[in-house]
Symmetry: D2
Subunit: 362 residues, 4 copies
């Protein structure tokens, strides 16, 4: 019963892998804002399967349509419903899975919780449920960029054992185009090695994990609502709510746990008349509130649970069973998770930005 | 404006370091449940300063009183207000801090956000704001243990570079008493080295970071509300909302990002008639829902920002200024953060447990 | 930004009169519950235009489809999206209205609030926005009836100056079929006079107001959440949120304000071993919590603002302008408001019922 | 579990009649706003018992203290906790009531819902629970008046059969001082007859019902959030959530149900360059959004259930029992309900005003 997120910018998503459609209702979009299907499609295309060798070869158009809340090209203040019809929904492909619990999937827990399970392609637990997030996030991204210059520039920081070496200071000049020119959405030299890592996994019928670096630019100081709506906590919840997410760290994160205070503390300096921290070790957040510097964090995603190799697990009756997942699947989430991370960051920031605006202009 | 958390078990906290009191309103506590001031005090005493050489020598009694919602020793269904009066609130001690921004503290961001700042001991951003969480969590812990056998057994997993080596499998037999006998709340041999690590930091007027391992036992399968109220996401938000929290990872967390799917996948097995995973690599959560196995995660906390060493930062006008934090402060959060992590886990689980109960008994 | 209602049974509606579709997302529907398109269509058909001479002659099929959340005929625990495509959406019909403010419509206030206005048929302020409520309410009604025997039996109590004389005690034996056999949905003899009253208004190109008596049967004692979620307050909000609603009174309502305490007080009696009130003057609610007796209230609806008579108002520039509303419209809301009142009562009760269940079975 | 209200201006109340204290946490108060204990006390004094012959002679000082969220006389953005200690809490006075269900009180329903009952003076169901609302409302009233000129001027419109004849048009010039000079808080000539009506009831050991006219002045156009947060619906919920509330009607309310559309419709006119309605029959709200004109509504309150006359009811075992309520009680709620109605209106408007501000200044 938790398919709505946000305090005043509320996004409600619906839909499962093989139902009639997936989509979302975006409630709290400011009125009078110009938006078209194409604006949203652009972001969905970043998430679309089949876009490159590092993603699943499955083809889905993921065409989105604005169903309500927009009149003569502008938002009206009414809720914006965005609909993405499901294609290619052949339930028969999943008959062999209906009686077993795939390893590291949600089959078992959904059945424990709900008694019934929509076994077709993972049902509501499918990564397909992230498409509506991308659609809603596209609205938020467009608004925040046009009204406040805020940009979302997440990218891949690691695939398996290949990690980006570039320091956080390199982020300052990063642009979306640089991210997009890499199939794995890594704007640095290591991107090529990541592609090779994924190719190696594919060859073995395997998958591989990854780390996405979340990155938000031009966020003003003052965003975030202590004590339960801190920016860091809200971003953590948004990211950890994504399929396959296993970890979140902001700023220097887990490294901070190993340091002395004298080494970790980050003095305020006066840089050309602007007060800011020397190193931004806290990732742009102090006390749960944005400092006005760049926001960055790491999000760990496990390797896709669906692999081509044969696996052994149990069926509903508790008998061991060997199975092989047919079909086409992503060998690594990296490329397609990047736009999803951008989306949930934008949804989160949009909500906190509007709340901030209610107060900041007193 | 986000000082209330929870969907049906709602906890609202209030109070700042040097105001009249800190406390909380616990709304949604089932009626007819026996609870006394002492039940709550027990948990607050675990968080109390001055309890051992690894915590601040500052003395505060942190005496809690049930002000409402309990009649003749039992909850009535009315909101339970828990009040902890502030003692020892000498604002003068902080006069020297009112015009500067302490490194890695929230002074700057609070001022950016609110225009004004309560500079006395950190105000609302003080770790003192976690005392009400411990009080509210005590109610939840008592209820969940008595009604469902659920236990919260977080403990220290690392201090600086000293980490616990014990495997997760060792958790099965862990008990609260073992945790409590260690001043640093580490139930393993490494606890002694952690104490030494903290003593070394104290000697240098420094502080040191730590990792707390969150651990929840006997949680039934089916807890957690996809897609925005997943157990993993709710725990991440709860923990990342704590002072000094920098990272969260559930199960094998960031390690999973480095693995192949075939190495990370965790088959279901039939263990004496009970279906469960072989290794519980996912930390007891799949698809955001509990599996019925133990829940474990790591939470990274940065070293306390207040240290005795002299530091340089800027004042409000942007001038560099050297300062030394007087007073007594925690050299490491480990010991006192453990009961806080238990508390926020219990508050989170209590909410999800009650929601689950609304549906599970259909 | 308030298009979602409910604490754990959450209904989000979307859609405007002449957009692509109207619909809703029902989040928190218990899993494993059998439901079909037809179950929902039955309630929508009660609200459908063109069903009798007392409603608008406009024809709309209002065909509803379950898009998500149901698999093999049963709910899965995933959000249920219900979609009703808009037909017959000819925006040209409204060109003449786009520059003026119709009396007692929301044209002016929507424009003041949002800057833009979807002038086609009232946009989001159209009574068409109640169709999704009826769809969501159908799910709640079916569940509550099957699982707990709770029934929703609202009916028309007054049209213009024609009021039902039957005492509240007559409600005990009322059945849905009796309500449905009257075109104006009044199960008493006065229904015939109400039909005549509406016919008279139609003849003059006018409309007429009405009172709907809300009526809920078999609700157990204990439903309602003090102090801000009282059953009476939640029902009032639900009903006063409907188009054209002007008043709400529960039990003897405004009459109570004229009485002495000794005349109004309602003693508890022992009726065949069951403790209940003598007269149920409070409408089945005391202290905001259900008593276990029948719930009844009155809801006042103003006459439809759209009439065929010529009217004078101002245009956007503030110039007086004479206009006549073309098209077909309801001369009285009575018949079609009854299923809407049932729906919002059911949505409200479903939420409070599930919350109650989370606690009641302790 | 519903003791918090509001979307971004959140008020959480706690406390029962004879517990340690009653109070509230006000979360979302803009920072930097000057407020003192005395500002809040002023409103509480309006609600205080013992202020005149038309209220209970019981003496309570109801002294309020700001416990948190204010520093150096200004709000800090942290939650504001307001505490009112209970005095005079002699539980023994209620021993005779603990085994019976008083007519038209919440004894029975609280016991049905919670299993246990705090029988001391009504517990959480006591009208004492409205004191924190008045305290929270005082903050909202002060802010809205100083920042936007919005005023809350509710007053008594009827006591028993004595009703104010003055037309709504008379409201335009009404001032708080005129209301306050009448013991019954009726600023019109009928106030004297109301006093007499109450005196007559007192003489007979009886009580009498009343109608409060809610009145909000200078509210800008555009306040209210369709479709579930309409201003009219939110006000209805706020008022119907009060003790003894039985009815709510906005504008011409139930009268509208008796009218033809041509008689009820309210044309827009151009009054000195400002577009407004001719008669404001809708009470300042159209489509759930404020028109910029005055807001007015009626709220019906039943006669106080506690009377001095002997009454018969049943005890817990279902046996008939005669009892007489000892102690001192209000013979009519009118005088003391007026500040409570002002308070809940202010709390409601504050929340909607802040949300409006988040969007209106795009």
């Amino acid at each position: 019963m938790s398919n709505t997120t946000g305090e005043i910018f509320k996004v409600t998503t619906f839909g499962e892998s093989h139902g009639g459609a997936v989509g979302c209702v975006v409630d709290g979009m400011p009125a009078g804002f110009a938006v078209t299907d194409a604006d949203i499609q652009t972001e969905l295309d970043r998430r679309r399967p089949g876009q490159s060798p590092v993603t699943t070869p499955r083809k889905e158009s993921d065409a989105v349509k604005i169903i309500s809340g927009v009149f003569e090209g502008k938002t009206t203040g009414a809720p914006v419903m965005l609909l993405i019809n499901n294609e290619n929904v052949n339930s028969k492909d999943y008959e062999n899975l209906k009686n077993l619990y795939r390893p590291s999937h949600a089959d078992f827990t959904y059945e424990q919780k709900y008694g019934v399970r929509d076994y077709r392609g993972g049902g509501r637990a499918s990564a397909r449920a992230t498409a509506p997030l991308v659609a809603a996030g596209a609205l938020a991204q467009k608004y925040l960029k046009e009204k406040a210059g805020i940009e979302f520039l997440s990218h891949t920081a690691a695939v398996g054992n290949v990690s980006v070496k570039a320091d956080v200071s390199a982020l300052q000049t990063l642009m979306r185009a640089q991210i997009e020119q890499s199939p794995v959405r890594c704007p640095y030299a290591e991107g090529k090695f990541m592609e090779a890592e994924i190719a190696a996994a594919v060859k073995e019928g395997d998958s591989v994990g990854c780390v996405i670096r979340g990155f938000i630019k031009n966020l003003p100081a003052g965003i975030g609502e202590p004590v339960f709506g801190k920016l860091s906590a809200r971003l953590a919840a948004a990211v950890m709510g994504l399929n396959a997410a296993k970890g979140f760290e902001i700023g220097n994160g887990f490294e901070a746990a190993r340091l002395r205070g004298s080494a970790n503390n980050d003095a305020f300096i006066n840089k050309d008349g602007k007060i800011m921290t020397e190193k931004n070790r806290n990732g742009g957040v102090l006390g749960g509130i944005s400092t006005g510097e760049i926001i960055y964090f790491n999000a760990a995603f496990k390797p896709t649970a669906t692999i081509s190799k044969s696996q052994i697990t149990t069926d509903k009756q508790g008998n061991p069973v060997e199975f092989t997942a047919g079909g086409r699947h992503d060998p690594c989430l990296a490329a397609r998770a990047v736009p999803v991370v951008d989306a949930v960051c934008a949804i989160t920031v949009m909500d906190l930005f509007l709340i901030w605006r209610a107060y900041a202009r007193d």
